[in-house]
Amino acid sequence: MIAEAGHYALVLALALALIQSFVPVIGARLRDPALMNVARSTALAQLLFVGASFIALVTLHVNSDFSVANVYENSHSMKPLIYKITGVWGNHEGSMLLWVSILALFGGLVAAFGNNLPLSLRAHVLAVQAWIASAFYLFILVTSNPFLRIVNPPIEGRDLNPVLQDIGLAVHPPMLYLGYVGFSISFSFAIAALIEGRIDAAWARWVRPWTLVAWIFLTLGIAMGSYWAYYELGWGGWWFWDPVENASLMPWLAGTALLHSALVMEKRNALKVWTILLSILTFSLSLLGTFLVRSGVITSVHAFANDPTRGVFILLILCLFIGGSLSLFAGRATSLKQGGLFAPISREGALVLNNLLLTVACAVVLFGTLYPLAMEMLADFKMSVGAPFYNLTFAPLFALLLLAVPFGPMLAWKRGDLLGVTQRLLAAGVAGLVIVALVWAWTRGGSALAPLAIGLGVFVIAGAVTDIVERTGLARLPFATVVHRARGLPRSAWGTAFAHAGLGVALIGIVCETTWNSEYIATMKPNDVAQVAGYDLKLDGLLERQGPNYREMIAQFNVSRGGEALSVMTPSKRSFTTRGSSTTEAALLTRGASQLYISLGDVTAEGGIAVRIYHKPMVLMIWWGPVLMAFGGMLSLSDRRLRVGAPKPARAKQRLQPAE
């Protein structure tokens, strides 16, 4: 009954989406407010019905109703409750349902909070949202129905892939989808602007918060996924340049470029055509990502669900939306007037450089991901593109970008003074160089690349600090004035500083981890001691334990440093009986930003166990960086100026915005 209700709710959502696809557009043509307002009600009703459908599937999973194929294939009655819930989107059908639920959520948010949008713009935006939604509802209903019943219900389910039975699954996919799907809003705004043929700075101001929300979630989603891979897959790798990871990185790169170009458009009414194109490209890359992951065209460590018929369907959606939007763009873009002149050396110029580098970096990832596929199909030439390729191509582009990052926010709009900015950044530059020298001396002349990269990271962080120091007048004004100015500084200025500093933090983490990672691989017996990076790890013994739906073998290590006991680490191996597979649960010990990492191999005949122990210096900075970036994004989002419908300020004085 619940399954049928869920299925029916989804069909109703499709019907609503179809109405929303056409009625508001006709309304806009006829200038009929009643017809245009239909979009608002249907968007909210869609959210209600898709939400009901999603809750139905969750209920089926929680109740372990094995008469539903999706539950039978991905659940088990003994599975802990949290994984029964997260297992809903740990499979193809469920994750697509999550995808459309989030799409409906964003549509609903625009409908609910878009009161201050011009009526026809809101009607068009919601109509475009409905086009996307209709295509994906149809996809789910035709090829991936999560509510299919089994004629003779089995007694027990087949359990969820053990790798996915982790808290990471609860957080990573929803975050990632909030990011992917969130970019549909800027896409819809772009298409609406092209249809209406009108675009101005106000448009950018409406789009920016939505893009920022999507970007924050995507940033956190990618970082979370990376940390999950790091602790769950058992060899301490955190980024593999795997096609599925690239699929999430590409929208992030394009979305980051979009955030910056929308800024130029909002402030200076320039880069309009480019911003529209980026909005289209960003969401197209999200769709491409959905296609790559969901069709199984590139099977990878992530793609657990493969089915070619689905692939063709998504490919059709992909061609329809990308092809359609790009031809609309080609037809209409020339009619959009460019405005806002600026000299090459200016804030706008810096943001253009940012866009150029990010777009090229994105193209490199796109090519690296699709080139092998194309070569295999077209030239029958099998090749691989992996981490060593990206290290040579992607890394220099980012190094260049990071070098430019501190300059951007300090240059003036329209016409900047590069020499002046360089002088003001002198302290940051010196800080970077001192760090280069120190690290180089400390590592006694190892590779020169690592100290240079760390110096670059320090320069980026110091540059962000310098910007804030300059703006508040710290070091030259009395303290009370500084506090006053710091409080008066727009939140977006703080956001910029945090996000940019986050880049430097992540870079330092990445360089330290890859350069000075030490490892110890051996077969250990109880009472053996391993020495890694100054730590002594003594294997106390092995014990077995029964978990809810697995058996696990735990090794207990006593960790000490210089004779002083620090902690006990308990890595384990779990074997899941239903699937006959096993997972490695690594043990982590955090010391500052560094971590000790132990994962277990197999037990040998002599009672020893294969052990891999790593010391990963500064590894946590890799994820602190993106968290800082996301925090910066949130600060920026809370800026009054971005809340278009914000209540009027109490004092007239505040209406004057500080000139930047």
Binding site: F240, W241, A363
Partner: protein, 160 residues
């Protein structure tokens, strides 16, 4: 005697289901050679996995390849010779860093070409715009917007 040793080694390999990347028993006694082997392993693809290097992969095939790499290094091959040997056996597919050749030229040159093209386009646009001169005026407001603006202005006038 050698045959027996080989048989024992083979038995040992069979009895150890490889569940992890680099196993303790694979490690070479010479640390310098082992470091080379690890470095090479990171550039070689485990062909049955997707985009995993043999250094990361826990598949049995990756283990075979790791042993093969170490065997070649022990036999005195240079890094280049080891890679040549593997490419001759398994094709270019095994290399995670594709070689610079006819089929991959576009892939390798993409970034510099795009940067140059983007830079050129920007330079031309900048020149054209500075020649054409003045700023383009903002599009006029629609009647709806005029009405809203008027309403906002009267609100503002009342409140202040």
């Amino acid at each position: 005697m050698r045959r027996m040793m080989a048989a024992i080694v083979a038995l040992m390999l069979l009895s150890l289901p490889a569940v992890h990347a680099v196993q303790p028993d694979e490690i070479m006694s010479d640390p310098a050679k082992e470091a080379r082997a690890r470095e090479l392993s990171r550039e070689l693809r485990c062909m049955v996995c997707q985009n995993q290097s043999i250094d990361d992969s826990d598949a049995p095939l990756a283990r075979d390849l790791r042993l093969l790499v170490r065997e070649r290094i022990a036999a005195g091959d240079s890094n280049g010779e080891v890679l040549d040997f593997l490419v001759a056996r398994y094709g270019e597919f095994v290399l995670l860093k594709p070689r610079f050749e006819r089929q991959t030229i576009l892939l390798w040159l993409l970034a510099p070409l795009l940067l140059a093209a983007g830079g050129f386009a920007l330079w031309r646009q900048n020149r054209r715009r500075s020649q054409s001169g003045a700023e383009v005026p903002m599009p006029p407001l629609t009647s709806d917007e005029e009405a809203r603006l008027a309403a906002l202005m009267t609100d503002e006038a009342k409140s202040s």
